[in-house]
Amino acid sequence: MTLLSVKDLRVTFDTEAGRVEAVRGVSFSLGRERLGIVGESGSGKTMTGRSVLRLIRPPGRIEATEMVFDGTDLMAASEREMRALRGQRIAMVMQDPKYSLNPVMKVGAQLTEGLRLRDGMSAKAAHGKAIEALEAVQIRGPERVMEAYPHELSGGMGQRVMIAMMLIPNPDLLIADEPTSALDVTVQAEVLSILDGLVRDRGMGLIFISHDLRLVGRFCDRVLVMYKGRVVEELEAKNLMQAEHPYTRGLLNCLPRIGGSRAPLPGLDRAAEWAE
């Protein structure tokens, strides 16, 4: 069953220096599965994720011949309908909890505001639900975390709070935009396994955005490789090693391997015609 279907998505920014096309005709569809989007900085992967939530602010513009989420036409939806989707059915985990959590609000207030404001839940019920959500991301001492401010949490802790916050309404689709890139390597695996477990258990669709091709290969069912705003290759994650496109091969080859050859890593080839 298709959860999200995107055809010919374009994101353009009209700047003083002229028009910049961040995403140029991206198409994909997604069921309750895990789709990875990979590319370098500036390849348009983040913009693609944010377009689905229609969170591109002016002067950015989103165009698509089709962008349908579970029967709702996202291009035609009113701002009000989008808000209802954002709160409940599509969620997003961002890169760095240092910036993505409000620095002057207690964690508890940030976790419960959706429940209280949108669902009209009592303070007590919302508190209980938030505690449950924190426990689900394996935070011990959730009561203390509720009372903490974001700067008092470590990066891994902050990202777990972020995941808990986004999963409280039990969304159908989660967009994870480089969810572990800002974390220490030792914490990355932990946060990933928590995310993986929750996504599996609740059977939600996942768009996993990353620059790390191997990570995405392990973690996702299917991979889109983006280059300069376009999808250059789409393949099953298990066939990643058989990738044919030279750009994908380049991405694979520029990663060092433990015990591998110590020769200098090859630079990434960027041929202009791949962007056409």
């Binding site: 969170l55 808000r83 209802a84 709160g87 760095d96 993505s100 002057v104 203390r144 802790m157």
Partner: protein, 358 residues
């Protein structure tokens, strides 16, 4: 797996035994005391170096040498400098700032008479500046480049560039002279003014508060009709400044990632702007507001002159023209103390609003 969040250990310091907020207040009070001591040193030195003989200023040019000597001893001017300073500080702490040569009253008594008028005016002007300036800045920041933004910008620019005495005269001419909507110069109409001095118990010296406490509502309304114009004129300038700063702080906050988070959570735009972003804007804005308030509290000579407002600004100016050094220096100490106190208060408030600064 990680355990509970680590709480930072309280920093060691002179007040490390106290709870966090008390420790903050105690530390602030200590630095306040040190700053004020420095301020007193400066006014003390100025008092000694100006080419005005303090004894001569009191006894007059025709005094005999014996009279001159007697007054010199009474003022303690024969003591060594450090002792003179100690006496000066001791007196100042007890509220004794010397005697005014011009009014022949204690300087502190004069200031108690004049300062409430300035306090009242500056407070209402700042309220005006905040209540209009902050929303205007927020509206402009959320609609950059639109006509709302342009209007806020142009009205603000006029507030910056229009000389306050000119604006005050125009406002008096229009709203008092032609339209007759408000009371004229002074804090009250002449009749009420006499009644206020004689019949109303002056608890604070601020007419709005004293008349309200006494239940004199006709006088209260009259006082409002007098204060509204000068406070609007003063408040316009601070509004221009506050709205501009609010706009720029708000633009910055709205570009932050936590704003996207709030939107992802499906929060309505009003909550994103007025709760999530504004809470963060308040952090730097507190300093801006406190500075603009402190500036107004020094007494604005021009506005006080045009509106015949008996405030601190006109008191110090008159004293200066009369070479009344005790009054000038006393007034300077009061202005300095007010300024430093407000700064410290804003520092304290800043830390209360921003958990990262605690």
């Amino acid at each position: 797996m990680t355990a509970a969040p680590d709480t930072p250990a309280p920093p060691a310091g002179p007040f490390s035994g106290l709870p966090r907020v008390l420790r903050l207040i105690a530390g602030t009070a200590l630095s306040l005391a040190i700053t004020i001591l420095g301020l007193l040193l400066v006014t003390f030195i100025i008092g000694r170096v100006v080419p005005i003989d303090p004894v001569l200023a009191i006894v007059g040019e025709r005094a005999t040498t014996a009279q001159y000597e007697a007054t010199r001893l009474a003022l303690g001017l024969d003591e060594p400098m450090w002792k003179q300073f100690a006496i000066y500080v001791g007196n100042a702490v007890q509220g004794d700032l010397g005697q005014s040569l011009r009014t022949k009253r204690e300087v502190s008594a004069d200031i108690i008479r004049y300062f409430p008028a300035t306090l009242e005016l500056a407070t209402i002007a700042t309220l005006f500046g905040v209540l209009v300036g902050v929303p205007a800045g927020v509206l402009a920041a959320t609609r950059p480049g639109t006509w709302v933004d342009q209007i806020v910008r142009i009205v603000g620019l006029m507030g910056y560039s229009m000389p306050v005495f000119w604006l005050g005269l125009l406002a008096l001419l229009l709203f008092y002279g032609i339209l007759g909507w408000v009371g004229g110069p002074g804090r009250l109409d002449a009749g009420f003014s006499m009644m206020f001095e004689l019949d109303v118990k002056q608890r604070t010296g601020m007419i709005l508060i004293d008349t309200a406490l006494a239940g004199e509502w006709a006088m209260f309304r009259n006082a409002i009709s007098h204060i509204i114009l000068p406070s609007a004129v003063l408040g316009y300038t601070s509004m221009a400044y506050i709205s501009r700063m609010t706009r720029s702080f708000m633009m910055n906050e709205l570009g932050q990632e936590y704003i996207t988070t709030a939107r992802v959570k499906g929060m309505p735009e009003w909550r994103v702007v007025w709760v999530h972003a504004l809470k963060n804007v308040m952090v730097p804005l507190i300093t801006v507001i406190a500075l603009s308030y402190a500036y107004l509290l020094e007494g604005s000579v021009l506005t006080e002159t045009i509106f015949a407002w008996p405030g601190l600004g006109s008191y110090i100016t008159d004293a200066l023209f009369a070479a009344d050094m005790p009054a000038v220096l006393g007034g300077t100490v009061v202005v300095g103390v007010v300024f430093v106190t407000l700064n410290m208060a804003s520092d304290l408030l800043y830390r209360l609003v921003d958990p990262r600064a605690r």
